[in-house]
């Protein structure tokens, strides 16, 4: 009896507030837009019994999904989200790896503090961390003031409201997700392997590529997925730092819903986004599983 309550309470909560809402999205993505409240049709009318259900089912169609393929905006936004996420993930890896490497090779008594310093930004408001770059990157911003003051440039650079700013924002906010898994892989690395390689005549750079990188592969893969997956659906960064030409699907969905009030198309955008996300998520799960098996 107790066991049943223990299972049922969180189970029913998640069913009601996670699964059912998602089924509603699926349903509305198959509906038509209407000038009504709520602004879509058909709506399920259970008071009419079986007739209501059949009328509801016959009103569903894939029109919105067809619409997504005919209008350039959507597939361009999906492709551009994937591209921005991929490039940003690569950049985050390039910035994060040396930091993780430095941490793993720092003196032992420094490491808890360094860990704390990496985790601390993660607890600070995401919105504020993105916002902090607006003052730095704007035309009259601190970066331009610095560069002009040093005499390196004479006209201010336009960085804010471009894709460059979006990349900077993503690298900045997701950096801890890249550093932590790579650090934990590098920390376990056996230093004797590197000494052996150097004794056998490897240069330190060759030893790094032949030993350190392959042995930290799992950390790199995990870090890349942890940055890539959430970046695809990102909304805050492209809206604050990106410009009108920055196309990302999270922003499109938001605008479709709040500005155009086209709920059926917004729902269809959400369904397709989830279908796209399933691939990296499954790959990530499989990688984690493999790693657990290798360790266990």
């Amino acid at each position: 009896m107790r066991r049943a309550t223990l299972i049922l309470v969180p189970y029913l909560w998640l069913l009601a507030l996670f699964l059912v809402p998602f089924l509603i999205v699926l349903k509305i993505s198959l509906s038509d837009i209407a000038l009504a409240i709520p602004p879509y049709t058909p709506t399920l009318d259970l008071t009419e019994g079986w007739k209501g259900i059949t009328a509801f089912l016959s009103g569903l169609d894939f029109e919105n999904f067809v619409f997504l393929t005919t209008d350039d905006l959507y597939w361009k936004a999906y492709l551009s989200s994937l591209q921005i996420a991929a490039i940003a993930t690569f950049l985050t890896l390039c910035v994060g790896y040396p930091i993780a490497y430095g941490m793993a090779n720092a003196p032992d008594h420094w490491r808890p503090t360094l860990m704390m310093l990496v985790i601390l930004p993660f607890w600070t408001s995401f919105l504020i961390r993105v916002y902090s770059w607006m003052g730095i990157l704007s035309t009259e911003g601190y970066l331009n003031q610095l560069l002009i003051g040093l005499g390196l440039i004479s006209d201010p650079l336009t960085i804010l409201n471009t894709n460059t700013a979006v990349y900077i924002g993503i690298v900045y906010t997701y950096l801890p997700f890249m550093i932590l898994p790579i650090y934990s892989a590098l920390e376990r690395l056996d230093g004797a392997l590197l000494e052996a390689a150097e004794d056998l005549g490897c240069s330190r750079i060759t030893a790094f590529w032949l030993i350190t990188v392959p042995l930290s592969k799992n950390g790199i893969i995990a870090g890349c997925f942890l940055v890539f997956i959430p970046t695809i659906g990102e909304f805050v960064i492209p809206s604050l730092l990106g410009g009108s030409r920055t196309l990302m699907i999270g922003k499109v969905l938001w605008e479709e819903f709040f500005n155009n009030r086209d709920w059926p198309v917004a729902s269809a955008v959400a369904v397709v986004l989830l279908l796209i996300l399933i691939i990296p998520i499954v790959l990530f799960q499989r990688n984690q599983q493999k790693q657990r098996e290798a360790e266990g």
């Binding site: 107790r2 223990l6 299972i7 309470v9 969180p10 189970y11 909560w13 998640l14 069913l15 507030l17 996670f18 809402p21 999205v25 509305i28 709520p38 910035v95 040396p98 930091i99 430095g102 941490m103 090779n105 720092a106 003196p107 032992d108 360094l114 704390m116 930004p121 607890w123 600070t124 408001s125 919105l127 504020i128 961390r129 916002y131 902090s132 607006m134 003052g135 730095i136 704007s138 911003g141 601190y142 950096l175 000494e195 997956i229 959430p230 695809i232 659906g233 990102e234 909304f235 805050v236 809206s239 604050l240 969905l253 819903f257 729902s267 959400a270 986004l273 989830l274 996300l277 998520i281």
Partner: protein, 271 residues
């Protein structure tokens, strides 16, 4: 092999400068007297004063705090139950679906979570306000809590619970007297995580908040869309200060708890 070469020192310095410089600049410029955010015109606490008189911000902060406290507390209870079920309840019908529903919200884009909850609330005719934000935040943060708590449940020695049961405890007593004290640090960090996630959330709150309730992130969002503002700099500085003090205190407390637990275990072994 642990040596601090010039390469490692440089990458650590540059890396941490990159992580912290933007926030340091933000904090410094929050004490700027000038209205023009990018021009330094002397030290002043003017913007903090204006912030404390801005009722819209204070109201939003109050709503945010209420939502965060209530949602993180419910999420901690539900998340701990879910973790216990996942780790200890064995097989039951629909277990795969259950664990799927625990992990899926962690990778779900916020725009989709927000959209789907909004459509649910409209579908059942629930007016959007503080209650709907609390329901939304509880749902996604309970999943984070259950991941944190279940990793602690997996790692601890089950025989301690079993011996309590052998010695005549009921299952509830064994949980309260043995399991809960052991997983307490994880439950507390789960609560803290849920609390900060709720304080922080813009996207899901924007979908589920109605005109009657505005949270701080929504308020911040609508003013920074127009550009950098000195008042927001002051507000950000206050938030950063609160988080820093909170995280440092929490880590010191958990360090002490771990040390005490280790001492207890050693004493138990000697006895």
């Amino acid at each position: 092999m642990r040596r601090l070469t010039w390469f490692n020192a440089t990458s650590l310095t540059l890396g941490f400068a990159f992580l912290y410089l933007p926030m340091v600049i933000l904090i410094v410029y929050s004490f700027n007297a000038s209205e023009l955010v990018t021009v330094w015109a002397g030290f002043s606490t003017r913007w903090y004063g204006e912030l404390l008189q801005n009722e819209a911000f204070l109201d939003a902060a109050w709503v945010t705090l209420q939502v965060a406290v209530v949602s993180s507390t419910i999420a901690t209870v539900l998340g701990t139950m879910a973790a216990y079920v996942l780790v200890r309840a064995g097989r039951f019908a629909g277990r795969t679906l259950f664990s799927g529903m625990i992990y899926a919200p962690l990778v779900m884009p916020e725009v989709i979570t927000g959209l789907s909850l909004l459509l649910l609330f409209i579908g059942i005719g629930l007016d959007r306000g503080v209650l709907t934000i609390i329901l939304a935040h509880t749902t996604f943060s309970m999943c984070y809590v259950s991941v944190v708590v279940s990793s602690r449940l997996i790692s601890f020695d089950r025989s301690q619970e079993e011996s309590a049961l052998d010695l005549g405890c009921t299952a509830a007593e064994a949980f309260r007297l043995v399991t809960l004290p052991i997983i307490a640090p994880a439950v507390i960090s789960g609560w803290l995580l849920a609390f900060t996630l709720s304080l922080d959330d813009l996207v899901i709150a924007s979908f589920t908040a109605g005109p009657s309730a505005t949270t701080l992130p929504i308020k911040i969002w609508s003013s920074i869309r127009l550009g950098v503002s000195p008042e927001i700099n002051a507000l950000s500085t206050l938030l950063i200060a609160v988080v820093t003090v909170g995280v440092v205190t929490a880590s010191l407390v958990s360090k002490r708890a771990t040390l005490r637990q280790q001492a207890d275990e050693q004493a138990a072994q000697r006895a």
